[in-house]
């Protein structure tokens, strides 16, 4: 029988470095390496190139959560309501603009809800994105109740038979209980208004975030039952490895990736391409 059945310590060290340096995290790295060791014990491997292929395959397996149907123009029910959430500065507002543009390109009518009524010039920022995407915008005055804006937006969509509703929310740290409660309330209001809505709750994560993303994902899921992940700023050098453990442990698919600051810089998540970019 050709090939090795165990991986030398030196090679294991090198593997650990590559995986951890991609922000995959110690816990998930240990899991991946253990699975690799079990596999080579059974099937053996010939060289480092083959070993790396096994690792990429193992990571792809962890990203097995199939994305839900994304930005097409057929929905189980309309309006299709999407709530966009996440901590401060990760790229929610920009992603809302990109998503609106994508749905518009697919031939859908889109209304955006400016439910970040808190941050300086958040509404003005979103107004520009709505115009760029060709979507209408529902807003209220700065400082108003975000749940009320969400309500108005869904109301407008129902009245005008709009296909897609995308609601932008204020950045909030998952450690702020009152802000997480506010988010839960926004979701409740939408659900009471339209059975089954919001149909998607997208948690936006910045590719350069480290292990804190795990806590963010756990907390946001607890508050508003996240249905999909968006990882932004993958046009930088950060690998975004945090999504591997999060997606696998919380069983949440990665829906989209952000690869720039222009309206067209949004791609549907492709696990193979993502794994290839990890340079393993």
């Amino acid at each position: 029988v050709r090939g090795k059945a165990t991986v030398d310590d030196a090679v294991l060290d090198e593997l650990e470095e590559v995986l951890v340096s991609s922000d995959i995290g110690v816990k998930t790295t240990v899991t991946i390496i253990r699975h690799i060791q079990e596999r080579v014990a059974k099937d053996r491997y010939l060289n480092t190139k083959e070993l790396h292929a096994l690792i990429r395959d193992e990571i792809a397996r962890l990203l097995h959560q199939r994305p839900r149907a994304t930005a097409g123009n057929s929905f189980e029910s309309t309006p299709h309501v999407i709530l966009v959430v996440g901590v401060n500065g990760v790229g929610k507002t920009t992603t809302v603009g990109k998503l609106a543009h994508r749905y518009r390109q697919a031939g859908c009518s889109v209304v955006i809800g400016a439910a970040d009524t808190f941050r300086a010039a958040a509404i003005e920022q979103l107004e520009i994105w709505a115009r760029r995407a060709g979507a209408s915008l529902i807003k209220q005055r700065h400082g108003s109740d975000p749940a009320s804006v969400a309500f108005d937006t869904v109301q407008s969509a129902l009245a005008r038979s709009t296909d897609v509703v995308i609601i932008d929310t204020a950045g909030r740290l998952h450690t702020r209980t009152n802000l997480m409660d506010e988010l839960a309330k926004i979701k409740r209001v939408i659900d009471r208004q339209l059975k089954g809505a919001p149909h998607e709750v997208l948690l936006v994560l910045d590719a350069s975030i480290g292990q804190n993303a795990v806590h963010q994902a756990a907390q946001f899921t607890r508050s508003v039952d996240v249905t999909g992940l968006v990882i932004t700023k993958l046009d930088g050098t950060a690998k975004g490895g945090i999504i591997i453990g999060i997606s696998n442990d919380l069983e949440i698919p990665v829906q989209y990736i952000g690869v720039g600051e222009r309206v067209e810089d949004l791609q549907v998540f492709d696990a193979q391409r993502f794994v290839a970019a990890l340079s393993i």
Binding site: E17, V20, S21, S22, D23, G25, V26, V87, N88, G89, V90, G91, R119, A120, A121, E124, Q125, E127, I128, W129, L173, H174, T175, D206, A207, S208, I209, G210, Q211, N212, A213, H215, K233, D235, G236, T237, A238, K239, I242, E261
Partner: protein
């Protein structure tokens, strides 16, 4: 916590007997793991742990009845030493106005920090002027104007007669400095667009702003939840700008903040400020001892 893990490791290794040099080397894995879980860069964690091992071997750890606790103290002291030191304040210019350039990646908290810094300098008795040199992000100028109004600080921005932002960041910066001189404002804080260190055009732009506005202080703003990539961005920005200090933001969250150690080890520039919330009043000087405790969890 790390102390308990190390105590447990020492007990297992020495079987309740005397610990030896080999035991100390064996527990370094636990220390390294704790640092990696705190987002310290892989290579920085490795060299840091090697330094700790050498220190531990030369000390009382071998003779201590609580070797785990002693080892954690060594790690803590080393972290405090590495994170701290060097000047904390703004380097003011001998010939006013002092020009402060604020740069960093997208979403790190620069614009908010500019507002905070303006308030902080005002409270020190100075007369700051904010320069709106982010000419790309939708409503960036509006955002800066809103924050500036909150703290009653003037803003210099350029718009054409249709109200559209004039997309010439170096021009905004240099004209703001001239305007400050003319209007007796003694500090100019330049807010810039978020940019990637791998975006050659944008890195050239910020280098150009530096060259023409001649800041006496350049601050690199970093999100405290940044992971392994922190060293890459810090190194690149430092190569391009040779910044004077670092600002860590969003420290009101629960990120361990290992990026602070990574950045400090790689560029050797001081961490000057800590942003601890969304309000403009939530700005503090950086405390290395608090950061060390946070990294150790």
């Amino acid at each position: 916590n790390l102390t308990a893990k190390l105590e447990g490791a020492f007990k297992r290794l020495s079987g309740q007997g005397r610990i030896n040099e080999v035991n100390i080397a064996q527990t370094m894995g636990e220390v390294r793991r704790a640092l990696l879980e705190a987002d310290v860069n892989y290579q920085v964690a490795r060299s840091f742990t090697n330094r700790i091992k050498d220190k531990a071997l030369g000390t009382e750890v071998l003779r201590s009845v609580v070797p785990g606790q002693m080892l954690v103290k060594i790690v803590y002291d080393e972290l405090v030493m590495l994170l701290g030191g060097a000047s904390k304040g703004i380097k003011h210019s001998t010939r006013p106005p002092t020009v402060i350039l604020v740069a960093g990646l997208q979403g790190s908290g620069k614009t908010t920090f500019c507002g905070k810094l303006a308030l902080h300098l005002k409270q020190e008795g100075r007369a700051p002027l904010l320069a709106a040199a982010d000419v790309y992000r939708p409503a960036a100028v509006d955002q800066l104007r809103t924050l500036a109004a909150e703290v009653d600080v003037p803003v210099y921005a350029l718009a054409d007669d249709t109200g559209a932002v004039i997309q010439d960041a170096p021009r905004v910066a240099t004209e703001a400095v001239a305007a400050a001189r003319k209007n007796a404002r003694d500090v100019v804080i330049i807010d810039t667009a978020g940019r990637l260190h791998v975006d050659a055009t944008m890195m050239a732009e910020v280098a150009d702003i530096k060259q023409r506005a001649k800041p006496s202080e350049i601050l690199f703003v970093v999100d405290s939840m940044t992971g392994q990539d922190a060293v890459n961005t810090a190194r690149e920005f430092n190569n391009k700008l040779n910044f004077d200090g670092v600002v860590l933001t969003k420290l009101d969250g629960d990120a361990r903040g290992g990026a602070a150690l990574s950045i400090r080890s790689v560029v050797k520039k001081p961490i000057k400020f800590a942003s601890t919330g969304e309000k403009l009043s939530q700005l503090m000087p950086f405390h290395p001892d608090r950061m060390a405790r946070r990294i150790l969890g």
